[in-house]
């Protein structure tokens, strides 16, 4: 490295803007590079992402490159890396790679193609479920943290009761009752906006209300609840995503609430309020970026656990209906052959393990990167 030469004058140096030498993103990138485990996690995640997206294109359509549903009964339970016996196969049955990379299953389907198809399920379930839970969590936590001191009064509660009555009557097919309660709803809303005496008795603060809802949700045994709902609903990938999302938002809500409670008292929020900014702008432009750190960490780890939950459900036989492959149901189909065809257990099992491990490691690394104490130490 060349020694720095004093070519620039002092005045230039002083007049230069005093911005930090590195932006926050550059700094975070540097920390990520130095954290080997987290960086490996990120790389594995990116590879998995590319494979999953490619997998959709390569395994779907009428004439896919890798056909996950091609049944070859002559070629049952061939071990990984074995060559197809071309003499017993018709030309379109020969696997695209010319080799069974991960072997074949009990119907002679190529496990490699099925793994490719299943990658997309794991990826989307992980991301959509966590997306839903983070959105609900941010909404509930933000509400509790920012408007927590406001009170829910008797007017609000009667409005909500009447509104749900309207819905229930409509659902039960009683339009007359429904119309009546809709009318009552309109009147009560009007009166409670006008703050008529019996409708403005404070019951509990919004913060208490939301935290009680969180308490109620935490009482359910989560895997059992998900299993119950998924078993009762028709089998589909979207139901799993929604159910996992709806049952796992409590952590995000708690984190956002805690961050908002401390941010609310800080000077920059006071300044923003003094400037007369709208609440929504204060929340989303000024407070949310500062509150997202812990949410991001818990979301990354949440993706890992959502993938595990989905795999567990597929393993038990719920979720994505059978002809479509998921990593969980490949493993579940293979469990009858664990001694004869262990690759049917090991290939999907190790794939799930690697992906989940990548998300966990990346999440933990992210926690270190976003931790201001560690950041100061590194400079």
């Amino acid at each position: 490295m060349q020694a720095p030469t004093a070519t620039y004058s002092f005045s230039e140096d002083l007049e230069a803007p005093l911005a930090p030498r590195k932006t926050r993103v550059q700094e975070a990138w540097g920390m990520l590079r130095s954290n080997k485990l987290a960086f490996t996690g990120l790389v594995i995640f990116l590879i998995f992402f590319v494979i999953a997206v490619l997998g959709v294109f390569l395994t779907s359509g009428t004439n896919p490159v890798f056909d996950p549903a091609m049944v070859r009964l002559q070629e049952k339970l061939r071990p990984p890396l074995s060559r197809p016996r071309v003499e017993v196969l018709s030309p379109e049955q020969v696997p695209t790679l010319g080799i069974y990379l991960f072997g074949t299953d009990d119907l002679g389907r190529d496990v490699f193609s099925r793994m490719l198809q299943g990658a997309w399920v794991s990826l989307t379930v992980g991301f959509v479920a966590v997306g839903i839970s983070v959105l609900i969590g941010i909404f509930m936590g933000g509400l509790a943290g920012y408007y927590g001191n406001a009170f829910v009064n008797s007017g609000h509660i009667s409005c909500v009761i009447l509104m749900s009555l309207t819905g229930i009557f409509l659902y039960l097919g009683l339009p007359l009752f429904s119309l009546f309660s809709a009318f009552a709803f309109a009147i009560v809303c009007y009166l409670s906006i006008k703050q008529v005496a019996p409708l403005s008795i404070p019951i509990m603060s919004i913060d208490t209300l939301i935290m009680r809802i969180v308490d109620i949700m935490l009482c359910f045994p989560s895997f059992f609840l998900i299993l119950t709902v998924v078993a009762l609903l028709p089998a589909s990938m979207y139901n799993i995503m929604i159910v996992i999302g709806l049952t796992s938002w409590m952590g995000a809500a708690r984190f956002v609430r805690a961050e908002f409670l401390s941010l609310r008292e800080q000077d920059f929020v006071m300044a923003a309020k003094a400037l007369g900014l709208r609440d929504l702008r204060i929340i989303f432009r000024h407070m949310m970026p500062n509150a997202l750190g812990p949410v991001l960490v818990s979301a990354t780890i949440g993706i890992a656990s959502a993938i595990l939950t989905e795999a567990g459900l597929s393993f038990l036989g719920f979720g994505v209906p059978p002809p479509h492959a998921t990593w969980g149901n490949i493993l579940s189909d293979g469990k009858r052959f664990i001694f004869d065809a262990p690759w049917l257990t090991f290939v999907p099992g190790i794939a799930i393990l690697i992906v989940v491990l990548a998300f966990n490691l990346f999440g933990e690394g992210l926690r270190d990167i976003l931790n201001p104490k560690l950041r100061e130490r590194s400079i």
Binding site: L37, R212, D215, I216, L218, C219, F220, P221, F223, F224, L225, L227, T228, V229, A231, L232, L233, P234, A304, L308, A311, G312, F315, L316, L331, K335, I338, F339, P342, T345, F346, P348, G349, I350, I352, L353, V356, L357, N360, L361, E364
Partner: protein
């Protein structure tokens, strides 16, 4: 203290009431009817369905079903729709089967994760710490059902012992030692599997608590005045790091009932999780709802116990 107990009792009763409503609604508003469990069964005539609906109040409005159900549950008269056996008796039988798994699993978790966590905190950043950290991430990330099969393959091919079920069929009447060994082999795998996740998480938690305490000034003072390192670590640091774990004794209570569906299915272990799974498949609503209710009670009792323990262990805390 008394006012805290009274307050939280009221609060938890209200929470439990809402939990009961929500779980009831989830089950009953889901598409499909319990009376249509098996439309292909020739014995399931319309008259039978009608009788069935009448016997279990299914022809009444939802709020009345709710009242009937929880009245029966609280008086202990609730029966399963599948075999008309009392649900509480059924759950109790299965609970006794699950109990050994839970006890061995919990013992393994608590006895293994403390030494692991403490040692890796003391030798922070060393090869031991990094190995333990890596393995705990591995154990957190491994899908339980996959790990179960890996262990089954290993144990069966290496030691040639049967592991599925609670005991080997037809071994009864033999001499004592082989029977006890047989029981232990059957118990070992499911409880190790139940403990893996717990060991990984708890040892990380022990490590971070230990690290936090080891950074305190009084630990440096203890080192500086020349105490033996063992005394500093185990007497000064550990005792203060233990505080949060006192509260965790309350939080293991809910583990009694959930979290073992997959493992019990794999090992054909006739425990709680498996019963719940079978009840879900058969749409046996009383059993599903009762399991849900009992586990909600256990969660609430667990948080209550942990709050009380926290107050007892740390006099600074006033709730």
């Amino acid at each position: 203290m008394l006012s805290f107990i009274a307050r939280s009792a009221v609060q938890k009763t209200i929470t439990l009431f809402f939990v009961s409503i929500v779980s009831f609604l989830i089950i009953h508003l889901a598409p499909g009817k319990p009376s249509q469990v098996n439309p292909l069964n020739p014995k399931f005539t319309p008259e039978l369905v009608e009788r069935f609906r009448k016997a279990f109040h299914l022809d009444e409005p939802l709020y009345r079903q709710y009242v009937y159900f929880y009245r029966d549950l609280l008086t202990g008269k609730i029966v399963s729709w599948k075999d008309s056996r009392p649900v509480l008796k059924k759950i109790w039988d299965r609970f006794l089967n699950s109990l050994p798994l839970f006890i061995v699993g919990t013992l393994l978790t608590w006895t293994l994760s403390f030494p692991l966590g403490i040692r890796s905190a003391i030798y922070r950043g060393g090869i031991y710490d990094r190995t333990v950290t890596f393995f705990s991430y591995l154990l957190i990330s491994i899908p339980g059902f996959f790990f179960a099969y890996v262990l089954i393959i290993f144990v069966v091919t290496r030691f040639h012992v049967p592991v599925i079920g609670m005991e080997t069929f037809g071994l009864g009447g033999g001499s004592w030692p082989p029977m006890i060994m047989d029981r232990i082999w059957h118990l070992l795998l499911p409880s190790v599997l139940g403990a893996t996740g717990g060991i990984a998480v708890l040892s990380r938690y022990v490590r971070s608590q230990m690290l936090e305490v080891e950074g305190q000034d009084y630990i440096r003072t203890a080192h500086a005045k020349g105490l033996h390192p063992d005394q500093v670590h185990y007497k000064h640091a550990l005792r203060n790091a233990l505080l949060p774990f006192v509260t965790m004794f309350g939080l293991i209570l809910p583990g009694l009932i959930g979290g073992s569906v997959i493992i019990e299915s794999i090992f054909s272990w006739p425990g709680m999780g498996r019963m719940a799974y079978e009840a879900i498949l058969a749409r046996d609503y009383p059993v599903i709802l009762t399991v849900n209710f009992v586990s909600a009670v256990l969660v609430l009792a667990g948080t209550f116990i942990s709050d009380v323990l926290y107050m007892v262990a740390d006099p600074r805390i006033k709730l």
